[in-house]
Symmetry: C2
Subunit: 469 residues, 2 copies
């Protein structure tokens, strides 16, 4: 394992090919300023004197101080010259946003990539990319999007795709994920997925490693890297190119060899590494690993307001391999004391526990939740509610209070608990849904927008622990 | 088949058990006023003189004119007396919101339900329910929620669950679905799923029938009803209680027999009836059936901005059984003329077609879309874009223009086209996403929030046509 800590902590960064109005300024130069990067920032452009209020230089060789890291946004054909200058200047690492290399599948691009890698290796410069977004490291003030969170967190994301790296940070940060390091590494011409996984496995700032991987050129090393990393961190993988046509798409995209699906599946399964099927699910999974302790098994207690919702939640859980056990008479009697049938004949106490309209009574709700949580026959709790239900004009207030009750009760519940908050998608309701979600997440309770998504996550989350036990 | 048209067109409605502050007022009385129901409305409550500005009566027998329809919100134990009064008054139909009957599984409730059904049958009164929300029929001004759309449409929803009926209307109306009739029928003590399916099969206002079904008491009749209905309308079913625990939940919820999953599956499959796995998917499917013509096959052309997004869209489509064929050299050459590699080396023209940043150029985008659409080797089009991507501050404007371009191009494209608009879920973005979605739907283009959901829908939609061909 090589120590590549330095690529996240350069003393200075040169952005090559930036102009007052191009993508390089929006995506790389401005974020360094916005994120208060502490080192020196050098815009490199022979045609202008100043960009974003910073003095510009004609070449990195003209920069007075040392240049530790370079972000390259010039045309592919010009990169060998830049690489030679990097060697002369003693640059430690270069991130090539530039595309037009091996991912084109054309001989010209493949040769060009080999050429710059040769120069870099000879001269001791490490390459991130080409054809990628590079590094987002909020602690250092490096980012490739101004809108990313400035706070740091414990989730790393390693992405072969640049677009997916941007998307994931945005999907995740709305759901309160915060990141240690996000690395978009594109063609992996020099530093590759193995280098980064080996690094992240030992990064004290990182607890959860999310990976979007299209392929690898060194299967054996990748297997070892993941094996070692899985001992220390939670890993969730989204493998791109699992289908035949997907493999072809991968070849066009990052030039990687996607490999056979069954081999990948067997390998991930063996290590207890959870796979996601899209970016949303990668975030869904991360929330479970972030907030929940290891459950003892897959027996789920379902509780909420609404019979049809409960039936569907039960189907979703069982379809995903979870178990929704029937409650023994003793338990049913306890629950019936809380919600007598005479008071609310719409209730059901068999699991799923449908509290019907009585569930809006906070005392009834919290006592029923606690009773279910205390039962030794279930391993974790699944609470459902909805803000789509608009029958009462005051639904939002009721849901609000219910959420507070869940958060309060959670303090004395020792079992994993997930909450489903369904929303109609009405944009007027969106701020309310977001607020509810955020309060739950801040209290350490993962929340999902549908029972299917919650059931899938819990099933895989539990599988991962049982597998590695 | 019985003609039950009259239950949707009563001359007058009595709401029994309504008070100035209870659920019956919010859910049933107020909506009649809000929806401008044209017949007479009679609140029935012996303790007050007026409710919601309407004269109240002590009993339906005190009402001066005829009472065609009754909405019953009194305790279960009082319903036999009301039923006898209904017979005397010549009431044609009664909807029992009241629960506490056979769904309790208790002998008492089962006996009570049998008693009221006997009285009703003897006296010629039809029952909807008990334990349900009844009827939403915007054309007649009947609703069980003030927030439902007042405009009518061509989608019917038949739901054994009351909660799910409310949820579905809300999930659907945000996505521009409008309804002919929604019927929540609960325990199906008299009028049951078969009566309603037979009715909807011949309802000229209805083109698409969505069904949430927990179980049936007459499998043979249901099979025939669905068989006949499937000849005339599009049917999409969400079967509740497909798992073992789900069946138990169904028994507690509406007292129905959920039956064996494999039998249901075989039956739906044989008729080419599409199944959904949750309410969101029921809406997803409805959008396809509402907007798209029958495709010729399952070969999809994928086009959008972003390589990683394209790889995942391809995997999702192929995993759902769709085919993403590689493009022949002739096609690749045509596309390369639109986006030369020298101009944008990030593009790929193999299918998925990744236009990379060139895709934001509207001329390039529309020419590439048209070229792909004209290719005889694909049967339908899958366009992806995202508003999560925040790299440019002006992303929204760019997506906005892209959507307009898709809508414009669609006019001359003869193949089914679906659009995926991914969003980060940021509440600030929600109004924009909703607007984009609405414009596409108004132009007859179904839009989905993720490639997985779009792929699932298209796969089933196409399967349904191929099956029935």
């Amino acid at each position: 394992m090589q120590n590549i800590e330095y690529i996240f902590n350069p003393r200075s960064i040169a952005v090559v090919g930036v102009s007052e109005s191009n993508f390089a300024k929006l995506a790389f130069l401005d974020p360094l300023i916005e994120f208060k990067y502490k080192g020196e920032i050098y815009p490199i452009n022979p045609k202008v004197k100043e960009i974003s209020g910073l003095k510009a230089y004609a070449s990195i060789l003209d920069v007075p101080g040392p240049v530790d890291h370079v972000i390259c946004c010039i045309k592919a054909s010009l990169t060998p010259q830049l690489m030679r200058e990097c060697v002369i200047k003693g640059v430690k690492s270069i991130h090539l946003f530039t595309s037009g290399f091996s991912e084109t599948g054309e001989e010209k691009g493949i040769r060009l990539e080999r050429e710059i890698v040769d120069i870099a290796r000879e001269g001791g410069v490490r390459i991130i990319g080409p054809n990628c977004m590079g590094i987002y490291c909020p602690r250092s003030g490096i980012s490739f999007d101004n809108s990313f969170p400035k706070e740091e967190g414990d989730v790393a994301f390693l992405s072969q795709s640049g677009g997916n790296s941007v998307e994931l940070v945005q999907l995740g940060s709305v759901r309160d994920l915060r990141f240690s390091k996000v690395i978009s590494f594109g063609n992996a011409s020099d530093l590759n997925e193995c280098d980064f996984i080996e690094y992240l496995a030992h990064d004290p700032q990182t607890n959860i490693i999310l990976i979007y991987l299209e392929g690898t050129k060194d299967g054996k090393r990748l297997i070892n890297a993941l094996k070692e990393a899985a001992k220390r961190k939670f890993i969730i993988i989204l493998k791109g190119g699992v289908s035949d046509a997907g493999r072809r798409a991968v070849a066009s995209h990052t030039g990687a060899l996607a490999g056979d699906r069954s081999i990948w599946n067997a390998f991930f399964d063996q290590l207890g590494i959870v796979q996601a099927q899209d970016l949303e699910e990668l975030v869904d999974m991360a929330l479970a690993f972030k907030h929940l302790k290891s459950p003892k098994g897959k027996r789920v207690g379902i509780i909420g307001v609404g019979g049809g919702f409960g039936v569907l939640a039960t189907d979703n859980c069982e379809n995903e391999g979870l178990s929704v056990p029937s409650l023994p008479d003793k338990m049913k009697k306890k629950l019936r004391e809380i919600v007598p049938e005479e008071v609310d004949p719409g209730t059901s106490v068999r699991n799923p526990v449908d509290l019907s309209t009585s569930g809006w009574n906070l005392d009834i709700f919290s006592r029923a939740l606690k009773t279910l949580a205390d039962y030794e026959g279930i391993d974790f709790l699944f609470v459902y509610t909805t803000v789509a239900f608009g029958l009462y004009r005051g639904t939002n207030v009721m849901v609000d209070m219910l959420i507070d009750t869940i958060i309060e009760e959670k303090k004395s519940i020792d079992k994993p608990l997930v909450v489903v908050v369904r929303s109609s998608g009405d944009p007027e309701v969106a701020p309310f849904v977001h607020d509810v979600q955020e309060r739950l997440l801040k209290a350490g309770i993962p929340v999902y927008p549908s029972t299917i998504r919650a059931a899938r996550v819990m099933s895989r989350f539990i599988w991962s622990f049982l597998k590695r036990r």
